[in-house]
């Protein structure tokens, strides 16, 4: 009947941390008299978590960073005491809380193995019997065994720590985020060893973010969110709660009454582009080969039909100058690329436009350098491209102004 008893019983565990520690005499003294206001300056890491773990069951504790996983594990191992609720364990509960926590850098690998094994609850005889296995598992050569641990590479250190921990005789193994130790080969060995332990009907309680490993090792998952259990059941289902956010990247939504032009949909929805929300409906441009432009709160998006180019300019001095000079329908034409270069160390940033290059340094204002008068070849290549010089262009109405701005000298765009 003994086997039927759960190995871990946790009942309504609550663990609260003070966010602020009284470090000065004044604070300490005052806090003695001040009436305690519950919940102020406190953080509930674990808020009423209950579960039972049966013998031979392997459970994964899942959740985001800060959801209380490690705290729960520490309460089970006895490192932390719950503020309310209780935990009872049955059999030997071994902590793999941090690989090599007990390692002393000035002791040799051999001494550290014995010390760490003892800390994890092994007797001298047990350690001696397993010593060869441990060293072999860690893959530490004989010469390093009698070298101080501080001379080990970090990989060697963690491998040795893990090897010790995984060889301890326990009924319940607590594992906290240590499955990512060492190289791929060693990890495979660890996982194999954990699977072996599973077959030996040992219970496991694992905290990890590595869903792949966890799915292999565990059959049950407990999902924590803000210190509460939001799911407790089959691992497959539990894993869906913590699927990496990469796969369902948040797309930017349109919250305005304006509609985003279909050409800009992808650009707009990409959160990294930071276009902002539309502040108008797309405006059709007939000049400069035709196209679309649409203002957003943090940028201007453009689409040039003649160049079949979608581009955008983020708010800043470039955009300001561009708009002051007529925007896509003006003499600069449509932008043909993203800003290049960086302001760092006096560098120059520039944007290619249809009819020239706008550039600026951190200190200077934006200068627009028009291209030399386009050659016939270019003109013929550009086809529908209508420059300000072309008398037949659709923008002829604006020609006088444009011509005067199209002088070969760089112009100061602002006065």
């Amino acid at each position: 009947m003994t086997l039927e008893k759960p190995v871990i019983v946790a009942h309504e565990i609550v663990k609260t941390f003070k966010l602020k520690h009284n470090h000065t005499f004044k604070e300490t003294f005052l806090s003695l008299f001040r009436k305690k206001v519950p919940g102020v300056g406190e953080f509930r890491a674990v808020d009423g978590v209950s579960f039972e773990v049966s013998p031979g069951e392997s459970v994964a504790l899942l959740g985001k960073n800060g959801s209380g996983k490690s705290t729960t594990l520490k309460v089970i191992s006895g490192v932390l005491q719950p503020d309310s609720g209780w935990v009872r364990t049955h059999g030997r509960v071994g902590g793999l809380l941090e690989v090599g926590a007990g390692f002393h850098p000035d002791l040799t690998g051999r001494d550290n193995v014995f010390l760490n094994a003892a800390i994890l609850g092994m007797s001298k005889k047990e350690t001696e019997a397993l010593f060869a296995d441990i060293v072999d598992f860690a893959g530490i050569s004989e010469e390093f065994l009698d070298t101080e641990v501080k001379r080990y590479s970090s990989g060697m250190k963690s491998r040795l720590g893990f090897a010790v921990a995984i060889h301890t005789h326990v009924d319940v193994l607590l594992v906290d985020e240590v499955l990512s130790v060492g190289d791929a080969e060693f990890r495979a060995k660890c996982n194999e060893r954990l699977l072996q332990m599973r077959e030996q009907n040992k219970s496991m309680f694992i905290v990890s973010h590595n869903i792949g490993t966890i799915k292999k090792l565990c059959d049950r998952g407990i999902v924590l969110q803000k210190g509460r259990v939001i799911f407790d059941g089959p691992i497959e289902e539990a894993a869906t709660y913590v699927t990496p956010p990469k796969r369902r990247k948040k797309r930017v939504q349109n919250f305005t009454e304006f509609s985003v032009a279909p050409q800009f949909h992808r650009l707009f929805a990409n959160p990294e582009r930071k276009l902002g929300q539309p502040v108008e409906n797309a405006v059709e441009i007939t000049e400069n080969g035709g196209g679309l432009s649409q203002r957003f709160t943090r940028s201007l998006a453009t689409y040039s039909v003649s160049h079949d180019k979608i581009s955008f300019i983020s708010s800043g001095k470039f955009l300001q100058s561009y708009l002051e000079n007529g925007g896509p329908s003006g003499p600069w034409g449509f932008p043909l690329g993203r800003a290049q270069g960086s302001f760092v160390d006096g560098g120059t940033r520039s944007i290619q436009f249809q009819h020239g290059v706008a550039s600026s340094t951190a200190a200077s204002e934006v200068l627009f350098t028009p291209h030399e008068r386009p050659s016939e070849q270019e003109l013929s290549h550009a086809g529908a491209l209508k420059t300000a010089e072309a008398p037949s262009s659709a923008v002829s109405g604006k020609t006088p102004a444009n011509r005067d701005q199209n002088s070969p000298h760089p112009m100061k765009d602002r006065r």
């Binding site: 490192v79 932390l80 935990v87 902590g95 000035d106 001298k124």
Partner: protein, 288 residues
């Protein structure tokens, strides 16, 4: 709600509960390794290594001997003053060592305390053990000198030495447990200990003879002075090393009564220390 069977089932253990200092027996293997670790790493990386355990007390001894003994002329009144001085000093050193290292024990084992559960009393205990090991070379030096001066052994001396070591260690450990626990939350404790230790050398008849106090202090104060566990250990140490070679030693009356009082106080200190430690222990991992 009905009570959960795990609460009453004796097969179930509560994580993080221990039997305090008493768990030292169950965990004696870990304790011995922790102690070994302390001893092995104490002089790690120093060329002279354990020689420092001899050099420090000898330098300290020379300092007191020259200044107090010769310059201030205390040695004229005391036969074999160097032996008198040194036998007192080793007890003070033992007490300082135990008190200081046990106070720092939990904090300096931070990494372990925060990650793995062990009865936390093991750390101060291991430190105290290390301090006693550290005491042995000093006692050996003194013993060799005393033998040259015609020292002989009796059973009484063995008992007295053991009693002195027990009193000082227990008292130091008791104080260290309390201050060590406070030290986790408030590192001020460490400085308070330094302050206390500054007075210890002078609060016992180490560099002067107890009659100096007896002649000046009112009787009740003298009794309090003599009841200090460290004082009784110092006097016991005088009994062990200095008494047999000196011709006309000044010995306090009722020494063994004071020893019993000192022992009693030491035991009280360890009980109080353990209670304070127990009380604060639950918060160690989060306060470190």
């Amino acid at each position: 709600m009905t009570e959960h069977p795990a609460l009453t089932d004796p097969e179930y253990a509560t994580p993080g509960r221990s039997r305090g200092l008493l768990s030292a027996f169950q965990y004696r293997y870990v304790l011995s390794l922790l102690m070994k670790k302390g001893v092995a790493t104490r002089y790690y990386g120093s060329a002279l290594g354990w020689a420092w355990s001899y050099i420090r007390p000898i330098a300290q001894f020379l300092m007191y001997y020259v200044v107090i003994g010769i310059l201030l002329g205390v040695n004229r009144g005391v036969e074999y003053f160097p032996v008198y001085l040194f036998s007192g000093l080793i007890m003070i050193n033992l007490f300082s060592e135990v008190f200081r290292t046990t106070t720092d024990a939990v904090v300096s084992n931070k990494a372990l305390v925060r990650k793995v559960y062990l009865p936390r009393e093991l750390f101060p205990l291991a430190s105290a053990g290390g301090a006693i090991i550290h005491f042995l070379p000093q006692a050996t030096v003194l013993l060799i000198v005393a033998i040259f001066l015609g020292w002989t052994i009796t059973w009484m001396q063995v008992v007295a030495l053991l009693a002195a070591v027990v009193i000082v260690s227990v008292f130091g450990l008791g104080m260290g447990l309390a201050f060590g626990a406070l030290n986790v939350a408030y590192r001020d404790a460490h400085n308070i200990v330094d302050l206390i230790l500054m007075f210890t050398t002078w609060a016992s008849p180490v560099i002067y003879v107890f009659t100096t106090v007896q002649a000046r202090a009112p009787e009740w104060l003298f009794h309090i002075y003599m009841s200090n566990p460290v004082t009784s250990a110092v006097e016991l140490s005088h009994t062990v090393f200095w008494d047999p070679i000196a011709n006309d030693p000044h010995r306090p009356e009722h020494l063994w009564t004071y020893v019993l009082i000192g022992l009693g106080l030491a035991l009280i200190s360890i009980v109080v220390g353990q209670l304070v430690f127990r009380r604060m222990e639950g918060r160690f991992a989060q306060d470190l």
